[in-house]
Amino acid sequence: MPFLSVQDLSFSYPAEQNGVGVAVDRVSFTVEKGSFVAILGHNGSGKSTLAKLLNGILIPERGEVLVDGIRTTDEDRILELRRKIGIVFQNPDNQLVSSIVEEDVAFGPENVGMPPKVIAERVEEALNVVRMNEYRRAAPHTLSGGQKQRVAIAGVLALGPECIVFDESTAMLDPVGRAEMMEVIRRLYKEHSITVLLITHYMEEAAKAERVIVMNDGAIALDGTPKEVFSEVETLWKLGLDVPQSTELLHLLSADERVQERIQLPKGIFEETEAARLLRRLFEARP
């Protein structure tokens, strides 16, 4: 059984809150335990609404979401479900509760009534994973955006989740903060076998995932490995998205006769070294 199963899911906001059209429109997909999936899409493509449907913050209009076998509409098991799937949101300032870092991280475990000793252990461990232990007594407003987001990850981690959804968690950060976050995400997925759902509009971030789902107008437009998805350059452009620059360069070159005469450039290349290697081959090849 897949860890996350979304079946025929639809949702639209009531008319008084920007209710234009359907936010999520008959979406179905499954996510296996321990995988790293990126969800791409431009602003307003329904990806953030999808995040809130995954842990029962929003209730589907149609279809269902199962997290490890628990339905998000099952009110008796909602806490159990939310312990399994945590969300880190976009704005670093709007998701920390306490004015002391370690007490903020303790917030989740306190809510589910863990014994004080266990909470302290989990807080310590979670802060270690995100490398924020030296700031345990700091006040959030003295931290950088990237540090605040790492505290937010620790707050989710302390609940011992199996899956973490990052809802554009890097969008408001500077390049350094983004790199820090991506490093933490990589560790969560590689070393702590946490299932990661990364919602983003940065291609470089999506390229790090095992699988990329592209959303448009509330529906899934593309679904595949980064290489497969980035092969669809024209489609991505049409959906208001970019492709990594190396993909774009090879795409531009392969449309030219002079290049076609020499070699067939593969599609969907997004790694620098790979792209450089292919360009060298292009220069060596004779028409």
Binding site: F89, A106, H141, V156, L159
Partner: protein
């Protein structure tokens, strides 16, 4: 920068007073306030002041900071002292008499006492409580002390949660206010000139965005809290346990003993003529 402003007047430190259980400090402060009002003789005051000096010394907070904290009450203290000085009628002959002013010895006494009372009240509560306890610890301690009120329907947990969130967001909102003011200034807004009505009106472009962003923050935070399994105070535990340790008990006990001693010694001192009304 505005963002460095922290709420409350906490001065970080490692003194025994800093380390006391915040509940003990709250109870101690209440006791202290009662004592200040009960003390009605010179020796009692002398003892109280001695206790206060010991507390200040133990807290490790510099005299300069303590005196600085008195600034806001200087006016009230001086005013009260002057009123007492001139308006206390004595039994004997006045010491000074000219025009309508009559100063009796009793007036001088009560002026000094009023002054001492106000100053010791302010210094005592700040050294015992606000200077040495973080606002977070205070909130925590209040929540625990008021817990019994839950049974008569007082939303103690909700109140404490509100305090916690307010403490967390004050610096954020202060910073945001500054940012919006700068943004409107850059668009030619003028907050500095004109009469009062104009100035108040000029704040509208600051207040509306501030309200809207606060609502948005509140919305975001509520969702984030829900995602982290928040469902009210039911079944909630705390990471930080407050344990009354030997030191806390000793502190409270000695404070109480001191109080009892003062109380019972009052008639004795009074009989010796030290009593003041």
């Amino acid at each position: 920068m505005l963002k460095d402003v922290t709420l409350g007047q906490y001065f970080p430190g490692q003194s025994p007073l800093h380390r006391l259980d915040p509940r003990a400090k709250i109870l101690g402060t209440i006791l202290y306030i009662v004592l200040v009002f009960f003390a009605r003789s010179f020796p009692a005051y002398a003892a109280l002041l001695a206790a206060l000096i010991v507390l200040c010394a133990v807290s490790g907070i510099s005299l300069k900071l303590i005196l600085k904290g008195l600034k806001p009450v200087v006016f009230i203290a001086a005013f009260t002292a002057i009123v007492n000085l001139f308006w206390t009628a004595g039994e004997g002959a006045p010491l000074v008499e000219f025009w309508i002013v009559r100063i009796y010895p009793e007036g001088i006494y009560s002026a000094i006492f009023m002054l001492l009372r106000i100053l010791s009240l302010v210094i005592g509560t700040s050294v015992l409580l606000t200077y040495t306890t973080t606002p977070m610890d205070l909130t925590d301690a209040l929540e625990r002390l008021l817990k019994p009120l839950k049974f008569i329907g007082v939303p103690v947990h909700e109140f404490a949660m509100m305090m916690t969130i307010a403490l967390r967001f004050v610096p954020t909102l202060v910073e945001e206010t500054q940012k919006i003011m700068n943004a409107q200034k850059a668009r030619g807004a003028d907050f500095e000139s004109g009469n009062l009505i104009r100035r108040v009106k000029s704040l509208i472009p600051v207040l509306i965005p501030l309200f809207i962003s606060s609502f948005r923050r509140a919305d975001d935070l509520a969702i984030a809290m829900e995602c982290r399994c928040y469902h009210g105070g039911k079944g909630r535990t705390r990471m930080k346990e407050l344990h009354l340790r030997f030191g806390d008990v000793l502190f409270l006990f000695s404070f109480a003993a001191f109080g009892v001693l003062l109380y019972f010694s009052t008639p004795f001192f009074a009989s010796m003529g030290f009593y003041i009304k």
